[in-house]
Amino acid sequence: MQYPPINGEKEVVMILKGKVFKFGDDISTDLIAPGRYFHLRSNLPEMAKHVLEDADPSFAVKVQKGDFVVGGDNFGCGSSREHAPTIIKLAGVSAVLAKSFARIFYRNAINVGMPVLICETDKISQGDEIEVNLEKGEIRDLTNGITLSFAPLPKAMINILNDGGLVGHIQKHGDFKID
């Protein structure tokens, strides 16, 4: 599996390393991108300053480039707003890990070129330092020494992700090239 450049870097990054911001189950797109910032939807860098504000008001201030958002079940449930994964990415997050994702959020994340990894997240804690090897499908928690694996994406999604998202994919091929 190959993944696209993260956060504007030119090279494909295969190993991601950063700190964990841990969240619970059912993190909705209303918590990620609250409706009261609806008017910032055409000003995404500004909206990104409020990312996940209603789940953790200090998140947007504390998150550093390369960090991870780690959730429980049903991450990204709710609205179809693509702004949700987009502003998580804009905030510098390199990947979202969760036990399960809501389907629209999952598809949107791939479409905007952000890795979303399905794995067991109970043993990962707030503040842990983790390393994700996208090629091997492996997550190492450097704080507690545990190694976890994550399920590979469907091939159609890998193709889209490798092109930097859906718009990049269509630009490159002129059409869907998913098989």
Binding site: F38, R41, R103, I170
Partner: protein, 434 residues
């Protein structure tokens, strides 16, 4: 081997026989976007110089979430949308026309078609036996430009509902019950197919409520077979020629069958802050209510207003409770007016707002204050949903919502219905109004 509704419809659009689990490219018939998702979609198309629509007459851009616009930033987004429509020939449904899902149903969607929409409640169209699903801006943008998209054919859960609802119990109670039963992610990625005699006898409007909330269980679609009622509906809408009968095969492979006896259901209330936090009406009684919202793509139709009016008839609104009513569309507004519902609601003390999403998305028209409780007929009660993370949202049927506007607290709506049946007797109305 038989096919599910999802397999039948997507297969036809992929030009081959398909089975759950396969990934296919399929043509799309109708596309929708709304004012919260269109600007990003338009910018995505502009980025790759693909500002066009494969089927502009059936691509509709709705101004409904922030309509009329409460802020200049959103007014500018509306300009972007109107300009795009002008350039591509796409349709614009401007302010005052109503919620996207209602209008798509009234005027565009037909059985057997595929609808993709940049709004999660696009699944409402499932009640038309059309494969309707919500996606993000990029997906719908590309779908609009190329006239196709990719799908993984979902496995299907058959939701078999039998029996007659008790008075005071409605399709909203059924869907809240189901979501409480299987959980907010109980059907993630699956299609739901609602079947059984309860569904067969259910009005199109009530069916739409079920399909609308399929996504609240994580489902990709909430499908219902088309039948005589669908045909009658299309006839009323002036496009009966587009009717075709469509249903899932008896011998199709369903991943799960969930059976529900509708006659045993009581009114349900979903507590903050998740839709699956469903409780029975008894457990909700006495919760103080500051605001009631009757409307949305879930329950903002004529039938819903009729139910609410039956509850409020001859009664007074609690002076401490606000009541906001938003018709789902212009057609709903006009019909509700003709039936006298609007007059009755205004007389009761409701604030009637322009057809659209109203306060549901937290952008305008009824944002909650800190610590306030709202009972609403909408589909979501997530923290912050109605514009304030310090607000508390309870989901219920139009009857339960209307009853709360009278009592100023959550109350079993059947108390009002049964009293109504006891002719000439005024029973205990004052007791509830402390």
């Amino acid at each position: 081997m038989g096919k599910t509704l999802a397999e039948k419809i997507i297969g036809k659009h992929a030009g081959k026989e398909v089975n759950a689990g396969e990934i296919v490219l399929a043509s799309v018939d109708v596309c929708l976007m709304q004012d919260g998702t269109s600007p990003l979609a338009i910018r995505q198309l502009q980025k790759i110089n693909l500002e066009k629509a494969a089927n502009p007459r059936r691509t509709v851009l709705f101004l409904d979430h922030a309509a009329p616009s409460p802020r200049k930033e959103l007014s500018n987004d509306h300009i972007t949308i109107r300009k795009f429509a002008e350039k591509t020939g796409c349709q614009v449904s401007d302010i005052g026309m109503g919620v996207c899902h209602q209008i798509i149903f009234e005027s565009y969607l037909n059985p057997g078609e595929i609808l993709i929409g940049a709004d999660s409640h696009t699944c409402t169209g499932g009640a038309m036996a059309a494969f309707s699903t919500g996606m993000g801006s990029s997906d719908v943008a590309i779908g609009i430009a190329l006239g196709k998209t990719w799908f993984r054919i979902p496995e299907t859960f058959k939701i078999e509902v039998t029996g007659e609802f008790q008075p005071g119990v409605y399709s909203k109670d059924l869907i809240l019950y189901l979501i409480g039963l299987i959980g907010a992610d109980g059907a993630t990625y699956k299609a739901l197919e609602f079947t059984g005699d309860t569904i067969e006898q259910m009005s199109i409007s009530s069916r739409m409520t079920l399909s609308n909330m399929a996504v609240e269980a994580g489902a990709k679609a909430g499908l219902i077979a088309s039948d005589k009622l669908t045909k009658d509906y299309l006839k009323k809408q002036g496009r009966v020629s587009r009717f075709r009968e469509l249903k899932g095969d008896e011998d199709a492979i369903y991943e799960k069958v969930i059976k529900i006896d509708a006659s045993r259901l009581v009114p349900q209330v979903s507590f903050p802050h998740t839709v699956d936090n469903t409780k029975l009406i008894n457990e909700a009684k006495g919760i103080k209510i500051d605001q009631v919202f009757l409307g949305s793509c879930t329950n903002g139709r004529v039938e819903d207003f009729g139910v609410a009016c039956e509850i409020i008839k001859g009664r007074k609104k609690n002076p401490k409770t606000r009541f906001i009513v938003v018709p789902a569309s212009k057609a709903v507004f006009l019909e509700a007016m003709a039936k006298g519902y609007i007059r009755q609601l205004v007389d009761f003390g409701a604030a009637i707002l322009a057809p659209g999403c109203g306060p549901c998305v937290g952008v305008h028209e009824g944002i909650l204050g800190d610590g306030e409780n709202c009972i609403t007929t909408q589909n979501r009660n997530f923290k912050g949903r109605m514009g304030n993370p310090e607000g508390f949202i309870y989901l219920a049927s139009p009857a339960t919502a209307a009853a709360a506007a009278i009592a100023g607290e959550i109350i079993d709506p059947r108390e009002f219905l049964s009293r109504k049946k006891i002719k000439g007797k005024k029973v205990r109305v004052s007791r509830k109004r402390k």
